[in-house]
Amino acid sequence: MNLVNDLINVERKATREGFGEAMSLLGKKNKNVVVVTADLGESMKVDDFERENQNRFIQVGVAEQNLMGVSAGLALSGKIPFAVSYAVFNPGRNWDQLRVSVCYTNANVKIVGGHSGVTVGPDGATHQALEDIAITRVLPNLMVVVPCDFEQAKKATFAIASFKGPVYLRLTRPKTACITTATTPFELGKAQVLREGKDITIFACGSLVYEALLAAEEVRGEVDIEVINVHTIKPIDEETIIRSARKTGKVITLEDHQINGGLGGTVAEVLGEKNPTKMIRMGMKDCFGESGEPGELLAKYELDKNGVIKTIRKILND
């Protein structure tokens, strides 16, 4: 998989930065790419795109319903619009517009939700999107993508621009560990076995993939963990999930999202129907977040390396 060699001394960059770099390159490459934003261009890192493509940058102000509708209209006219805002608003506030104007219409809109998850940190729970995977993955025609780091966010941005149809791309605010490299493969819809193991499978997405890898390394010798990065939640890679669950017989899911309806829900649906497996879902346990530093919050809600190790022991001893 061509990951970085040293998992401890990693470089840290935000997925939104990877997205911004990719958008700048896309702006030069594809004249149909348009960015539409609701007052959050700079923090979503599309300020380079704006400077370089003023005619293809639409600023709708703080008006997320219009953000989605305008994007649908652009897509129906042959453009490839990226509708860019924070995930709590987009798709949080404009879900009806996403459902009808975009998904039912199958309009080629790329919805980019930034600042997702509890790792938004100090802004607090109002701004921590913990439900966005759940509300997007139930919509027909919509693909849902959660890159695990900077490089993957970049690759995912190029991939969804080429893909014909609506896509939700989930990004995060803080600088997080870079674990993949420029040469790590990436294919939409194809989960990645980042580490092979035989005792327990951890299916993770987003920046918590790193915590899973750290935990797996720490318990090496005691228990052999397989870590799979499920960067595409929909369509879900059933084959890879079932194959691994059959091998290890014990499954943990890990995400910076509610345990209901997100990656954990998706994996539970697949396995419940096709290969019932002992399983623990890690994520926010049907509660809202709060203010704090990302690391403090991950520790409090037991979503960091230590939380994962605790869960590994739990599933082993159950």
Partner: protein, 277 residues
């Protein structure tokens, strides 16, 4: 020369026939705005090719108040976009005439399930207004000649999204965009002024940066004139408020909000068709 008055009558006849057959749907709004749809598709207000419905240079008609579908379906069929017999399939299983209009993009293979001439998926009010802004932005971005006409209802102005869209249209100086607002004064649960007043609508739209024309929407001369005057303001989006009579043309439907969301029975349809003859 097409007789627009006669076309409007034909549209109304088809609306009554299809709704009676469907046994559900929205009657009053569709009847009230039939004169405008006659002008739109038969009076030369828009460029289109019926044999090539998604011709790139066509003007776009966005029906935001999707429950007005019967009037657009009737006008499109009479204009030759699809066989008139197909109107009888309204709201039936497998029909291209869904209860509310649907636009579905297919990226591969043919798209024969798409009803020709439909530009947007409409139903949840307010959504089409933003879609129309997006289309007009795309046309302007590419320096194209095609323009956009967006039809919405008066109660739709109660949706916050419409105002988000208007401020955006004004900011970008979308002179290629005309919002047509049907002011029939009724909505599903009562008279608009009682349910939620929207006055002063003309002043509000003006304050949002639109060039507003308020006309009798059942008078075709006024409709044609308003579109003509609109062309005098190429750098500004237009709003044309059509003051219409809900249910226009059928005495027992006219002005009665209870006809917002119901279809005529076969006896009522017979009476209505006799009045429209």
């Amino acid at each position: 020369m097409v007789d627009l008055v006669d076309k409007a009558r034909e549209i109304r006849v088809e609306i009554i026939k299809m709704l009676a057959k469907a046994e559900s749907g929205h009657t009053a709004g569709a009847l009230g705005i039939a004169d405008f749809f006659a002008c739109l598709y038969f009076g030369g207000l828009i460029n289109f090719k019926k044999e090539e419905p998604y011709w790139e240079e066509r003007d776009r008609v966005v029906l935001s108040c999707g429950h007005y579908a019967p009037v657009q379906y009737a006008a499109l069929a009479l204009a030759g976009f699809f066989p008139i017999e197909e109107l009888g399939s309204l709201r039936k299983l497998g029909s291209r005439l869904q209860g509310h209009p649907v636009r579905q993009i297919k990226y591969f293979g043919n798209n024969d399930k798409q009803l020709p001439g439909i530009e947007n998926t409409g139903g949840p009010l307010g959504q089409g207004v933003s879609v129309a802004v997006g289309m007009a932005l795309a046309s302007k971005m590419d320096k194209k000649k095609w323009s956009v006409v967006c039809v919405s209802s008066d109660a739709e102005q109660q949706e916050g999204q419409t105002w988000e869209a208007y401020q955006c249209a004004a900011k970008y100086g979308l002179g290629n965009l005309t919002f047509v607002i049907d002011r029939n004064e009724i909505q599903i649960s009562g008279n608009l002024g009682e349910v939620m007043p929207i006055e002063p609508l003309k002043d509000k739209l003006t304050a949002f940066g639109l060039r507003v024309f308020e006309i009798n929407g059942n008078n075709m001369v006024e409709i044609m004139e308003a579109f003509g005057k609109g062309k005098l303001f190429p750098g500004q989006p237009k709003a044309i408020i059509l003051k219409t009579m809900a249910g226009k043309g059928v005495s027992f439907i006219e002005g009665n909000y209870r006809w917002h969301g119901r279809a005529p029975t076969s006896e009522e349809a017979e009476k209505a068709l006799w009045e429209l003859k």
